[in-house]
Each structure stands twice: as structure tokens, then as C-alpha cells.
């Protein structure tokens, strides 16, 4: 059976950061990623990131991914890091300490790590409306994959559902790809994403329908239009429904952490609405109640990629430290730096939700 010192599940911003941190400290690291390409959501982001210099602020997401890939290549060459794409971790067997995985669609394997970092990311939420399963109703991540990774036109005219950061950013990206936006529908009386992202898309002439929701996707086999509806503060319909011309409906109604492996590992889990679903309880070093398992990124609670990268660093650092590969000085220096960065990222009003969510799941240390 394959073995590794540290197994990182998920090769997105959090997972790659964890792997790089661990490899930089001399650990033998293996990364599994279910996608065909490494980089998770980062490779789909054409906008410049927020945050500070340490989180590559002002740099486009896909370029940040390229920086990480360069470093990954370096450690691969040194023989410290192995990366497997198109490889889905299918289970964690607690009593055997074994992770099973599937390569492609049919080949199975398993690996026995000493320490594990679960950076499994998130998955798209769905909202109920008539015909929400119809082809042409796509998740925002899927649309980004089609147009920004593979350069394929996802549709001619898109109705965006949700004005959080993802809805706003993907609308902007669609326009960059030359695709029309029929409008952005948001049930709340206020956009949920950064105000500046909304301003960018508004000055392109895109309407944002606040306090509106989608009622129905129209069409026979594929989307040929949509019906939207104004709602009041209690989400009750106001006035007549309105038909919108579009051939694609993009759902950007939030994400929820991918946590199946954490459950099967028996990690203590908690439902935290502010973090968008079930998340593992963890100490400040991102260690879960299972002493060999760490969590990082969206799997630990939905947040920006910049925070995910720092969490990955912390998890990687702590996992290697548990193998006694790190001097105390390095550990404390790096740990202090990373925690300061996280604190800065979460300090403002937009970090309030995250802060209150984290206060529900973070413990000072495991007893």
C-alpha cells in the first residue's frame, strides 16, 4: 500500500498552500485532487484578489495559481511532493487509517498517511424553483469552468441568481467573455458581495434586481427564459411575476462545505450557518478533534480564497510540527505571522460573519 507522511485531500488554494508549507519544512507530502486540473477555484478567477501583499492582493486568481504551481513543481523535482489529479478520495477508514481513492472512473487505490489535511473545498447550493434541474441551469463554478478554464461559451444571455461575491464576479467575467447578462437577481434588499464588485457590473449597464427571486425556468428541454418575482422583507411575493429573456440561468446562491470525509473520520462536527453548513470543530492550528486530521479552506467554512491559503499554511505547519519536523522557533514565528494575517483579513465588517461563525467552532486546544 502507498504511504505518505502528509496527505492533502484537495488541490485548491487551501490544499496547495498546506502542501507547500509542509513540503517546505521537509515533509513527504501527497496531494489528491478530483479535478482534471490542479488549482481548484483559483484557476477560474480572472479578477484581481483583495487582501494584502502576502495574499497576492491585486493579482488575478489564475496568476496566483500559477505562482503556487511553480512552487509545487519545485518540490516535485526535489521528490518531496507527489500530486495526483483526476483522483477522488472516496473514503476515510478510521480504524485502518486508510484513505481510499478512485482514479478516473474505475481504478481504485488506497494510501495510508500519517497525517491528513482535508481541504476538500465546497459545493454549490441549489434553490427551489420550477425546472431548476433543466439543462441551462448551471452552478456558477461550472460556468466559470466552461468559460475561463476551457474557453467555451456557456450561453448567449445569462440570468444570474445571487449578488454575493461569486454572482457579481461571474457576471463580470461573463461580460469579459462577450456574453450578455440579462440581470442579477438577489432576494435580499442589499447585495451580499463587495460593493465595489457590484459597482463594476452596474456601470456596465447590468441591472441588479434586489428583493427579487427566480420562480421558474422556462423551456422544453433546455432553458429558454425565466420568470422572476419581486418579494418583500418576509420573502412574500409582491406584484406580478416578470418574464426575463435568457438561455442560461447561473446559480450563485452560496456554497456549502464539502465535509463527507470529516464525518466519516468521526471529527466533531457542528452546523454553523455563518460558515454555511456543517464544519469540523478545530483548534487555532486547524486541527480537528481527530488528532491526525486538519482542515483548511472552504471545507472549514465558506470564506475568501485569501483566507483559505493562510489556513492551508497553518494546517500544513501544524501537521508537520506533529511529526517533529519543525524547530520550535520556526513553528512559533510562522504561526504568529499566519495568525496575524488571518486576523487582518477577518477584521472588518465583512469579516464579522466569519468571526462569529468561528467563535462557535474554535476551541483553544484539544483536551
Amino acid at each position: 500500500m502507498q504511504t505518505t507522511e502528509i496527505l492533502v485531500i484537495g488541490g485548491g488554494p487551501a490544499g496547495l498552500s498546506a502542501a507547500l508549507e509542509a513540503a517546505s519544512l521537509g515533509a513527504d507530502v501527497t496531494v489528491l485532487d478530483s479535478d482534471l486540473k490542479l488549482g481548484g477555484q483559483l484557476i477560474k478567477q480572472t479578477h484581481k484578489f483583495f487582501g494584502s501583499k502576502a495574499e497576492y492582493a491585486g493579482t488575478r486568481g489564475f496568476e496566483i495559481a500559477n505562482f503556487l504551481f511553480d512552487e509545487i513543481e519545485k518540490y516535485k523535482t526535489l521528490g518531496k511532493l507527489k500530486v495526483f489529479t483526476n483522483t477522488t478520495a472516496t473514503g476515510y477508514y478510521k480504524e485502518d487509517g486508510v484513505v481510499s481513492y478512485m482514479v478516473g472512473e474505475e481504478k481504485y487505490g488506497r494510501i495510508k498517511p500519517q497525517k491528513l489535511v482535508f481541504a476538500t473545498g465546497a459545493q454549490e447550493r441549489l434553490i427551489p424553483f420550477v425546472n431548476n434541474d433543466m439543462p441551462g441551469v448551471y452552478g456558477a463554478g461550472a460556468i466559470q469552468t466552461l468559460m475561463n478554464v476551457y474557453g467555451i461559451v456557456p450561453g448567449e444571455k445569462v440570468l444570474m441568481i445571487g449578488a454575493g461575491n461569486i454572482g457579481l464576479i461571474v457576471s463580470y467575467q461573463l461580460m469579459q467573455a462577450g456574453i450578455k447578462i440579462a440581470g442579477i437577481v438577489e432576494a435580499m434588499p442589499k447585495i451580499g458581495g463587495y460593493w465595489v464588485h457590484a459597482a463594476k457590473i452596474r456601470r456596465l449597464g447590468v441591472p441588479i434586481y434586489l428583493q427579487h427571486t427566480i420562480k421558474e425556468a422556462l423551456g422544453n428541454n433546455v432553458v429558454e427564459g425565466a420568470v422572476i418575482q419581486e418579494v418583500n422583507n418576509c420573502f412574500q411575493p409582491v406584484g406580478d411575476p416578470m418574464e426575463v429573456e435568457c438561455d442560461t440561468i447561473c446559480l450563485a446562491v452560496g456554497l456549502t462545505p464539502t465535509c463527507e470525509l470529516l464525518w466519516s473520520a468521526g471529527c466533531e462536527m457542528k452546523f454553523v450557518p455563518q460558515l454555511c453548513g456543517y464544519v469540523a470543530r478545530r483548534d487555532p492550528m486547524m486541527r480537528t478533534s481527530h488528532p491526525d486530521i486538519w482542515v483548511a479552506g472552504d471545507a472549514a467554512g465558506i470564506e475568501e480564497a485569501s483566507a483559505a491559503m493562510v489556513e492551508g499554511r497553518i494546517a500544513g505547519l501544524s501537521a508537520v510540527a506533529s511529526l517533529n519536523h519543525v524547530s520550535q522557533e520556526t513553528f512559533y514565528d510562522r504561526s504568529a505571522e499566519y495568525h496575524q494575517r488571518l486576523e487582518n483579513l477577518r477584521a472588518g465588517e465583512v469579516g464579522e460573519k466569519i468571526r462569529s461563525g468561528l467563535s462557535c467552532v474554535c476551541c483553544k486546544q484539544w483536551g
Binding site: E95, D96, V98, S100, S264
Partner: protein, 381 residues
Amino acid sequence: MVSKRVDVAVIGGGVHGCSTAYHLAKKGFKTALFERDYISSGSSGRSAAGLRYQFGTEVNIRLAQYNMKCLKSLGEDLHYPGDLEYDPAGYLWIAYSESQLAQLEKNVKLQNELGTTGSKVLTVKGIQEVAPFLNTEGMLGASFNQEDGHINPHTLCFAYADAAKALGVEINKKITVTGLISKGGQVAGIHTNKGDWEADAVVCCAGAWTQNIGRWVDLDIPVIPERHQILITEPVERMKHPMTLCLDDGSYWKQCPNGTFMLGVGKEEVKDTSFYASWDYLEAATERILPKMPILEHIRVVRQWTGPYGNTPDFQAIVGATPVEGFYIDCGWSGHGLQFAPSVGRIMAEIVNGEKPFIDVSMFRYSRFEEGDLFFEPACI
């Protein structure tokens, strides 16, 4: 805290607890049911969900006849709006040795004598007819009954729980029973983490968790938890394939109504109520089943779960009163209990009501272990 009062408290929101509560309410008892988690969260919802006539002891066969009759139309009878997914795809017990075949023949003979005419012994050619995808190499024969089958264990529990609720039963979910109230040597209610309930009788339907409850009244109930696991594959179109059980290695597999295959295997397992699955089991089950049904080679396993059996020394249930007055038990079903909910729920209500059970279950008495009067069920894995 002011304690509440009911006639009967039922411990356990599995299928036996729900059915017992339903039948008690039908007799007019003010009943409350207590479940630590959600309805069907224990072994019921984790079971292989099999229904069958094919047992090897008289009491089980007689109970099974009643069970099978009830289960066929249970959804309608209980006015349950959901789908119980009752599916008579058949049960095929395979023998790989003369002694196994002899036991199957004996079982079938007894079933036939007691009026279950659908059970029969098959030759290898007969096996190929009812289960064309099997590799019959090494098989000597089998017993088969086309009316045996499958039911959805969750909706089965919900149907009983909803029917009980409609008759006024208090269904308490997410409440943990923490002790039994004893008064003058008899059980007079329960303690829970949400207060006390006084009751004239307590019926324990806690399955593999029964032993802990017995200890509160100094009973050593010989129900030993044992982990069992199940694998589920991706769904594929229905194929002609009955539930198949192999007496040589305890492997069993069937296709559920939604198209998924369910796979399991008899194996030395840990003796506790843990819910964790093991890689060994995945390997053992697939290694043993694939040669017997090669077409499953490329099907993908998508889930694996665990639910404990509550085993007794003779793999037979313990049903009825106990030496502690007011304390009744229905446990120890050793892995085949789900399907007995219709008959045994009714019998528990009859026993609590002081009636003679409609089927004699004295063989299942608690005192048989002390008396050394064990009787083994040959048809179980």
C-alpha cells in the same frame, strides 16, 4: 421538575419500538416512545432490509408468515403516504456443501409443513433460472422463495411512528433515557436527560444497546452488540436477481428497488455499537462476491455503512416479561429483526396487556438462558 405520566414507556425508535408503541396505542394505552437520535437512526435504518419466509425454526416461520402478510399492504393499512418500496424479488440461499444443502432442505420441509408453500429446493439448473447472473461453480443447490424480498427500512419505521402518533403516542426524538425508575423492586418509569416519565410498564426495544439498560435493574441480558457493515453501489437498471445468501462464507447481495446493489458478508467483527466502517470489510465483501457474480466487476461502490447486530447466544430473540416487574424486553434479534416488527409489536402489546400472545413466543423467554434451553436459528448469517 414535575414528572409526566403515561401508561407505557417504550425505549427505542427503531422499527420494533415504533410498532410496539403503535400496537399499545391501539389497545388504548397512553404511550410515550423515546429515541436518543431520530426514528430509524439505529440498526433498523442501517439494516439490509430483508423480508423472508425462509427461517429454520417453527416460531420464526410462524411469525414470518404473519409478517409477510402484513408487510405486503402495510403502507395502505397504516395510511402512510410515502413509499415502503415493498419488493418481492425473492431470497436464494446457496449451499456449497452437502451439509449446507441438507440444512436448507430441512428448512424448506419445515416451512412447507407449516404452510409456506412458496419455499422450494433448487438444483443448480434451478438456480440459473432464478438468478441468471450467478457463477454457479461450486454450488450444489439452493433454497428459494420468490415472495421473500425487500422493504425500505426508514419508511417502514416512519410508517409505524406516524401511525402511532396519529393514535396519540408521544414520539420523543433526541431524548436520551438515562435510567429506570424503580419503586419497590418494580420498574415505574424512566429518567431521561429531559426529565422523568412515570409509567406502569417500560418496554425496552433498544436492540444492540439493550444490555446497558438491563444493567440499571441488575439484569444481565445476553445481547452482545456486533458490528455489521453494508456496501451500496451506484444504481443500474433492474436485473433478474434475488437476494442471494451463501452459506459458505456468509456473503449476501441483492439489487434494491432503486437499482443499487447492496453487498454484505459474514465476518469476524468488533463487538461494539460503533458506526465506523472498515477497509477490510470492503475488501472481504468484494473479494467474495465478485467471483460469484462477475457482472458486478465494474460496478462502483458508492457508500458503506455500519449498524450493530444484537446477538444472543442462540441467535434467537428475547421477547416478553423479565424477572423485574413492569420491565419488558424485545431484543436480541441477531440481525434479522426488522421484518418481525409487525408480529412482535403486536405480541408485545398483548403481553403488556396481560393477554396470551396470538403466536406462542414462549421459546423466546428471557429465562431460557438460565434454564439452558437454547434453540438455534439455522437460517441466519
